[in-house]
């Protein structure tokens, strides 16, 4: 294709968009809505995933030992736990360390009244998992070990977080699929109108000897441009409000601030922006190519 032909085609595509403004606007709006929701769900999913991941990394199982257990046995238990595949990290907390952190956290200056360590038998292992769903299995294994008095599991139930994530994912896939279909339908309508408006021009083009490709490409370009615009608008909106929404959420739930580990906007957009553009242009391409093949029997 010649460069002049390429620019001519693009120009005609843009003229098409302006020639039936309202339909173009409707198509752009639908794609925008579609990709806005996509961007929204994507951001939520990524953040929930990140929160779950952070929470999972923070979830620990604590193991206390029988009274009078020997240091060797503690060491032995530690080695055995370390070997488990689901264990990512294991920390030994001696009785003194436990008391020190307890004092610091809860007693402050009142701790001076204690002369002995009241937590003498509270040495423990803090065990971190790389997969929280393995927690029940690990707990029952630990309870079966010799020399263990008590196993404390963390209260954050990973299952519920994972469940929420899956729910959001399914709901968003459903809604996005419906919006995709609507977008393709609307783009198809827009292009159909464009074709009927230019019917005479197309018939002249065919008489003069325009190839199918030459006749069709402006309409496909039109669809792809609509898709690209429809993708850029919601991305702009999400980009500009993302940080504000997050600081609002953190402000509102400040007691959960340790748990709410949000991703920075640039990290989200590194994948979201190209993804949305590809989808927008893809919808436009699909919608217009289907229509052009159907209505432009050249």
């Amino acid at each position: 294709m010649r460069i002049s032909t390429f620019f001519y085609t693009i120009k005609q595509g843009i003229i098409n968009i302006f020639r039936n403004k309202w339909f173009s606007l409707a198509s752009i709006a639908t794609i925008s809505a579609c990709l806005f929701l996509f961007g929204l769900f994507y951001s939520i999913l990524m953040n929930v995933q990140n929160i779950v991941k952070t929470a999972q990394e923070g979830v620990s199982v604590t193991v206390f030992f029988d009274e009078g257990i020997s240091d060797e046995r503690i060491q032995q238990i530690g080695d055995e736990i370390q070997k488990r595949p689901e264990v990512s990290k294991i920390n030994f907390i001696s009785a003194d360390e436990a008391w020190d952190s307890f004092k610091e956290e809860y007693l402050g200056e009142y701790a001076d009244g204690f002369t002995e360590n009241p937590l003498e038998n509270s040495a423990s292992y803090e065990i971190y998992l790389n997969d929280v769903s393995m927690q029940p299995a690990l707990v029952s294994y630990l309870e079966g070990l010799d020399g263990i008095r008590e196993v404390n599991r963390s209260d954050i139930t990973a299952a519920s977080l994972t469940g929420i994530n899956a729910l959001i994912a399914y709901a968003s896939i459903g809604i996005i699929a419906i919006l995709f279909a609507v977008s393709i339908f609307l783009i198809s309508n827009t292009v159909t109108i464009g074709i009927s408006v230019r019917k005479e021009e197309i018939s002249i083009m065919k008489y003069i000897g325009a190839t199918d490709f030459f006749v069709r490409s402006p309409f496909v370009i039109e669809g792809m441009l609509i898709g690209a615009i429809g993708a850029l608008i919601p991305m702009g909106i999400i980009y500009s409000v993302y940080n504000e929404v997050i600081s609002y959420i953190i402000g509102k739930f400040s007691n959960l601030s340790k748990l709410l580990a949000f991703l920075p906007v640039n990290e989200i957009f590194a994948k979201l922006l190209p993804g949305s553009l590809i989808m927008g242009i893809g919808i436009g391409f699909l919608g217009s190519i289907i229509t052009v093949r159907k209505h432009l029997r050249v």
């Binding site: 008489y207 003069i208 000897g209 190839t211 030459f214």
Partner: protein
């Protein structure tokens, strides 16, 4: 290497395709026993034979329903005949592949009764449009369009929109558009149908001049006066058959 061989083979194949049904070398349009029937009613064309040589000027006359329009559509390969052979410029229009049709049509210039100009574009753009379609470089378009507009006598009006022009001027634009790609054949379907006598004459003179410059011209018309005055070959059609084909003929009255 293999690409080269493929290209050579392709060219050979195309040449074979063109030469199929050996047309006489100076015949540019050949119709042999061509019939066209639509789904309902009598055939629109019934066993038509027509041979037109390179450089001829031919009127095709006849009432509505005589099969003129069907003939034009067959020559443009808008329709395929139900029977018979059509060969235009070496293209076998019965067997031509769909994707070859645009290339074939680039050899034809077409002028319609209702001009069919693009109303949202000026004279220059209307003519340049034809060159854009065949993907001429902009540089050439800028050279070709003014020269063809001068030929049809519209050099000063290239910025005007179609609605600012008279009917005669609009038809000149249409002729310029048909000619700018230097076709071998110009097909004019009732080119003076919407024009007053003075403009009709001017358009006909222009077509004659184009013919003198070597383009084969086919004019479908109702205009008795012009046909009688110009003394060209006249093919008269009636109810789907050619009833007369005369060199330097006249308009045959329909009085049976």
């Amino acid at each position: 290497m293999s690409i080269k061989i493929q290209v050579v083979k392709k060219v050979a194949r195309e040449q074979r395709g063109r030469r199929r049904k050996g047309t006489a070398s100076d015949e540019i349009i050949t119709m042999n026993h061509v019939s066209k029937a639509y789904a309902t009613g009598a055939p629109a064309l019934n066993g038509v034979d027509l041979h037109i040589k390179k450089g001829e000027f031919v009127f095709i006359v006849g009432d509505s329903g005589s099969g003129k329009s069907t003939m034009i559509k067959l020559l443009l390969r808008e329709l395929v005949p139900t029977e018979g052979e059509i060969n235009v410029m070496g293209y076998d229009l019965v067997r031509i592949r769909h994707r070859k049709i645009p290339m074939f049509r680039r050899n034809l210039g077409i002028v319609f009764q209702d001009f069919r100009l693009l109303k949202d574009r000026n004279v220059y753009e209307n003519v340049a449009f034809a060159q854009r379609i065949i993907q001429k470089p902009t540089k050439e378009i800028k050279r070709n369009v003014p020269s063809i507009l001068a030929t049809v006598g519209l050099a000063g009006k290239y910025k005007a929109k179609p609605r600012q022009l008279s009917g005669g001027e609009q038809q000149r634009v249409a002729i310029a558009r048909a000619l700018v790609n230097r076709p071998s054949i110009l097909l004019a379907d009732e080119p003076t149908g919407n024009l007053d006598p003075k403009n009709s004459w001017e358009i006909m003179k222009l077509l004659e001049q184009i013919n003198e410059n070597g383009t084969t011209v086919l004019v479908v018309t109702h205009n008795r006066e012009i046909v009688n005055a110009m003394q060209k070959r006249v093919v008269t059609m009636k109810k789907g058959v050619i009833v007369s084909d005369e060199e330097k003929g006249g308009y045959i009255d329909d009085e049976d």
